[in-house]
């Protein structure tokens, strides 16, 4: 069983400070952490490996700082860690990021099962996982809340689709994105930390990828662009509703209607 887990290093805080006078953004903190949702994907992968044997490879795209995160995955039990890192990948949006990851997976000669976290805390789009599946032409199930069965040939999962839960089965190769709280990610092991201290993290650059068409990567391969950023509209100010109880109830009702809360 060959499993690849796609992970991402994200800013430690998603809070961007905004200068209240100019409305300009202040610098993002350069502290980073592992996208918390991805830890559930890694834990799920490790559990499947424990059941069926095989390997768990962690794949990420990002600058070399991501090596810290990749080393951490070794202490949880990952077998290999690969960073796709190149200036040519800079400024990638969902399409370019998912394409680069899919190319990286091709270099790794594919996988039976690919796992992603449900979303990242910085982009919040939850799009990269399904997009990788599309690039690779394999089926996917998103929002997986439970692995019901996993064998050498197929995986059966429960998906949360808001009003309904659906049990779906897929044969390999396939991709799943897992929900948070579907398992408890294990803590790093000191023994593994010592054992893997010398295990290197592998790097792949643009030159290693099968598709050498530069227009598919980085900014040039990204159809979306950020035209501007600005502070969100101020919060509601304070209103004292006037009149008798009935009039107050009615005003509140109208307000809730206009805010589309009801």
């Amino acid at each position: 069983m060959k499993i690849i887990v796609c992970m991402k290093q994200v800013p430690a805080t998603s809070q961007v400070e905004i200068d209240p006078e100019t409305g300009a953004m202040k610098r993002l903190s350069s502290n980073t952490r592992t996208n918390p949702y991805d830890l559930f994907a890694l834990e799920t992968a490790l559990q499947i490996r424990e059941k069926l044997g095989g390997t768990v490879t962690v794949l990420t795209m990002g600058p070399s700082q991501a090596e810290i995160m990749m080393k951490d995955t070794y202490t949880m039990g990952a077998d290999d860690a690969v960073i796709l890192s190149d200036k040519k990948f800079a400024g990638s949006d969902v399409l370019a990021t998912s394409y680069t990851l899919a190319q990286g997976i091709r270099v790794l000669k594919g996988a039976d099962l690919i796992l992603c976290g449900r979303q990242t805390t910085d982009g919040d789009t939850a799009q990269v996982g399904p997009a990788i599946a599309e690039h690779m032409g394999i089926p996917h199930c998103a929002w997986v809340s439970e692995i019901l069965d996993v064998t050498k040939d197929a995986i059966t999962v429960r998906q949360n689709l808001e009003a309904v839960t659906q049990v779906s089965e897929m044969h390999y190769p396939c991709l799943i994105t897992v929900d948070k709280d579907m398992c408890v990610p294990r803590l790093p092991s000191y023994i593994l930390k010592k054992k893997t201290a010398d295990r290197p993290v592998k790097y792949l650059t643009f030159d290693d990828l099968p598709d050498q068409n530069l227009s598919r990567y980085g900014l040039t391969g990204s159809p979306t662009s950020v035209a501007r950023m600005f502070a969100p509209p101020a919060k509601d100010s304070q209103v004292y509703l006037q009149g008798n109880a009935e009039e107050k109830a009615n005003q509140l009702f109208q307000t809730l209607l206009s805010k589309k809360i009801i």
Partner: protein
């Protein structure tokens, strides 16, 4: 697509742009300012440069935009009915459509009953509804649904495709956008359109404390997802003139790598942290009758009933539903507090709510310091009246 370009002849190496860059993407190198991987082309440096040495280089368009026109809305079905986000997408599309003289079309995919549901859409002023109905579309299979909608896109070449940001929509939209090698903007909160048919897509970024305007100016179609209850619902039209087109299903569309074994209606009890609407009650609710009134309000709103600490200590509420430092922190869209005094231990755990309504007969209650809508009145009077208004609205 775009990139930052420095004009070395103008740059005086003042370093202002390095300070202003929110992404830490600029640095002083030996040969001048250098842009690294983190650049998101936000343009902060362009505006900061007193020498006008920085510009955004736009790549010239590669797509013939005139080949792609009209809006296409993906209509999701949930448990045999139309997911209401579809009516909101129709609403926002119809608002934009006149600016570029576009039509508003829909595509709907599903098993038996899909054609019947499609007919309901015509009342909301859509021009064409493309229907893909087949028993194999029972249950959500991302690959099949993508194939069907992709087939529709290939035939009608829409300029913009709007999809509800539901679990299903967010699972399918990235596959579609990837297939057409184009852009997808998730969770738009505002949508508008320029005369050149580029959509202006605004979405929250970085946890919502900053907004980003996203453009897809070099490729078509433009994909956007929008969450439920963000846009205004379309109004019904007097004389619907739209048409239903039943589309041909091919084998490719119905062969799937996903086998749906079963599906069940979710009856998971909502954790208080996940509740979108909360009715919270405090000591001002004096007796069982009061709890009942507030429970009725919560039911009418589809809200979760929550409690302050004294209410839990008195055995009226369960600790699982307690808000406060010794209970839970909540960030709902709406919280209505009834008879809550508003101690800091309570308010610090709910003041992140989008809208706070406070009902309390004491005008000096601290809760009014954090509330957006303040009702100084007897909750025994206000709550039942409000409940009745909401119930009547539902029966309309």
């Amino acid at each position: 697509m775009d990139s930052i370009h420095f004009n070395p002849a103008r740059c005086n190496l003042c370093g202002d742009c390095i300070d202003k860059c929110p992404f830490d993407a600029l640095s002083m190198a030996e040969t001048g300012i250098e842009v690294n991987d983190s650049c998101r082309v936000c343009g902060a440096c362009v505006r900061s440069c007193s020498q006008k040495a920085i510009s955004v280089e736009k790549k010239t368009g590669t797509v013939d935009k005139s080949q792609w026109k009209d809006f296409l809305i993906y209509v999701e079905q949930e448990r045999g009915d139309i997911h209401p986000v579809a009516y909101e997408l129709i609403g926002v599309a119809r608002k934009m459509a006149p600016k570029v003289r576009y039509k508003v079309n829909c595509v709907i995919v599903g098993s038996e009953g899909t054609v019947e549901n499609a007919k309901k859409l015509l009342n909301y002023g859509v021009d064409q509804v493309y229907v893909y109905e087949h028993p194999c579309f029972q249950g959500f299979k991302a690959d099949c649904y993508t194939d069907a909608v992709s087939d529709c896109i290939a035939h009608i070449k829409p300029s913009s495709v709007l999809i509800g940001a539901t679990s299903l929509g967010r699972s399918m939209a990235p596959r579609l956008a990837t297939r057409y090698r184009t852009g997808l903007t998730a969770d738009c909160t505002t949508l508008d359109i320029q005369e050149n048919t580029d959509m202006i897509q605004i979405r929250p970024a970085f946890g919502g404390n900053i907004m980003a305007q996203i453009m897809i100016s070099q490729s078509r179609p433009q994909f956007a997802t929008v969450r439920y209850r963000v846009m205004d619902r379309a109004k019904k039209v007097e004389n619907p003139s739209g048409k239903i087109t039943v589309c041909e299903i091919n084998d490719h569309m119905i062969s799937s790598g996903i086998k749906v074994i079963s599906s069940a209606v979710m009856e998971k009890k909502k954790a208080i942290e996940d509740a979108g609407i909360i009715v919270a009650i405090g000591r001002g609710v004096r007796n069982e009758e009061g709890v009942g009134l507030c429970q009725n309000l919560a039911d009418a709103l589809g809200a979760t009933l929550a409690f302050t600490r004294p209410m839990v200590e008195q055995g009226i509420g369960n600790q699982l539903y307690q808000i406060g430092l010794s209970g839970h922190t909540v960030r709902p869209k709406l919280i209505i507090t009834c008879g809550v005094s508003g101690a800091i231990q309570f308010t610090s755990c709910m003041n992140g709510a989008e809208t706070i309504v406070a009902i309390n007969s004491d005008p000096n209650a601290q809760i009014f310091n954090v509330a957006n809508y303040c009702i100084v009145d007897d909750l025994y009077e206000v709550v039942p009246k409000l409940t009745a208004l909401i119930q009547n609205k539902k029966e309309d």
